[in-house]
Symmetry: C2
Subunit: 361 residues, 2 copies
């Protein structure tokens, strides 16, 4: 019965999905705009109440002087690195080998900004203080991604970030935070966003991960930095006549979910424990430090797909819509906990994992 449909189709038909805030449907927009006065005027090319008020709100939240709303993090971060490189007169930046800029942006940083990259740290690990101390080259900026998404959302010790920050300040190396999932790590560090951001010269945050908005990003820093970023935003074609569809949904969903990050973190730890009770499965990190983790299964893709589809069909529990094939005997997928996990009846959830424990052989 389940052989004929793909994993993604089987997943779409499940009633209970363990990750995320729900489907990305137009309802996300409709909900955010439901209570908004239709007579409110659009922002205009970066000016106007809608964009300025949200930028001020986010600057205050991040403890930075100033913030600029961007349509995307790809645009915001390339621009941040370009500004720092220009300021330092050094066309090279350092970041993790699995940075978003390195693997998901079609080399925009290199092709548009002609900035070279130095890949810092081990591909499967985090950037540590020693990696920074052993830099033997001048760089225009160091980018840290917290959490390091592509390795399951791992985090360094907080003290490590403090020491990297102190070293960079002493050496005059601008330090940029890829905070696509900054909100999601605050419960683990038990720090405010402003405390974390005080260690960085510039910060990017996103509104469609844990926050669950439509799209959009904020880039924050001091006034001179954000002023320059607006010029680059225009050059990139990101200074739209109206960005309000993203701003209003970002603001609405920020208010809706910012207080839920503790819950997502606790839920992620509980969910990872359930996965780790299953044979052939381990999560990375073993104990999550945010709302996310990766699930690694040392079984062939075909087998895992068949087992998952059976469980989806029997229980209505959906684990994932896809499997990355690492090699012939191993697959992985990502889990980011949001609103949906908590709405699953516990008996259903446990039924799903009991089947998973029994069926993976």
């Amino acid at each position: 019965m389940t052989d004929s449909i793909s994993l993604v189709e089987a997943f779409k038909q499940t009633r209970y999905q363990i990750a995320g805030n729900g489907k990305r449907t137009i309802q996300v927009l409709k909900e955010a705009f439901g209570q908004v006065d239709g007579q409110q005027e659009s922002d205009m090319y970066g000016n106007g109440e809608i964009i300025e008020m949200f930028q001020e709100k986010m600057a205050a939240y991040l403890g930075k002087k100033s913030a600029v709303f961007f349509p995307s993090g790809t645009m915001a971060q390339q621009i941040a690195l370009r500004i720092w490189c220009d300021e330092k007169g050094i066309n090279k930046v350092a970041y993790h080998p699995l940075s978003h800029l390195e693997i998901h942006e079609a080399d925009g940083l290199k092709e548009l900004h002609h900035i070279e990259t130095l890949l810092l740290g081990n591909v499967a690990g985090l950037i540590e203080l020693a990696d920074v101390l052993n830099l033997n080259q001048e760089i225009g900026c160091l980018l840290l991604e917290l959490p390091q998404r592509e390795i399951g959302g791992q985090l360094p010790e907080y003290q490590t970030i403090v020491e990297i920050s102190e070293y960079c300040r002493a050496k005059g190396i601008p330090l940029h935070l890829d905070g696509a999932r900054l909100f999601e790590i605050l419960p683990y560090y038990q720090k405010s966003a402003a405390e974390v951001c005080s260690l960085f010269d510039s910060v990017y945050i996103s509104f469609y991960k844990g926050i669950g908005g439509i799209a959009g990003a904020i880039l924050a820093g001091d006034n001179d930095f954000t002023k320059q970023s607006k010029v680059w935003k225009r050059r990139h074609g990101g200074d739209l006549i109206g960005l309000y569809p993203y701003i209003i949904s970002a603001d609405y969903n920020f208010d809706k979910r910012i207080s839920k990050m503790d819950q997502y973190y606790e839920d992620a730890k509980e969910l990872a424990t359930l996965f780790n009770t299953c044979p052939f499965i381990q999560t990375i990190p073993a104990v999550p430090v945010s709302n996310m983790f990766h699930v690694h299964i040392t079984r062939p893709k075909e087998q895992v797909e068949a087992v998952f589809k059976e469980i989806y069909y029997e229980t209505g529990i959906g684990f994932t819509s896809y499997l990355n094939e690492k090699n012939q005997s191993s697959v992985s997928f990502e889990v980011s906990v949001g609103d949906q996990y908590n709405s699953i009846p516990k008996d259903k959830l446990h039924e799903g994992f009991q089947l998973l424990q029994g069926k993976l052989k």
Copy 2:
């Protein structure tokens, strides 16, 4: 009474505004989304039904093989020129001295793409065939903007475009159309969009001028061209997880207004005639060839402002929210006719212009 407020404030308080489709308010979004099924799924990084169907619809309308939706024309056009320059191996393009790329994009083309520009034709006139024939340099692309917005929306003879196109094809020079206001010129040329676009290798169109959407653009051309443009869209940070807020409003307003372009053109001619009956006023063009024209008044800014505010207050007719000061004795502003003109009672409109005829001295 009117001295204390600015022209823009006085304009905002007018009941009847001669130009445009109405205020850029959130109602534009709410209206477009009113009938859309909330369960419809977002586009995902350039894929999915919402974006693909609209791209296909626009490709067909423009008579091109393929089309790609972009958040902005700034992004779309820089990318078009980059693709052609890379293909030709020549890092130079030619366009009008008042091209959007030259004066409104903070030099993105030069700063991001390192493309040099050759300014073609007289600043106050159009690019003519002779300008193209006399090009003494190799260029990667020639961009024509139809209509030429910054000189009042003037157009060359259609035969001129045909001849420029034939020359470029013979010489192997890619020809790109800045068609930000393409819809608006079709009534004058009495051509279909596809007929005009057939003269060009690539075409950009916009959805927030005459069409009245929120923002967004389409770039169209052959399959290889648009495929490359998607890579550059990602590099620019324009490949958002969801562009549907702009796509749905573009589609909705395209269907709503595409058949009104004849009316806007006729209205623009009527409105220009009214302006030209006033002393010290002349429109450029004298007879509009689209929905737009510029109004030039050879009187000092202070005087014109005072007269306009009086008329706004007495009649509720609003001519413009701003005046560009050309010199101490001359100002200008732009008029783009949309839905609002036709809803003004004719007696009110004539009352406004009668006052204008009498008050400018």
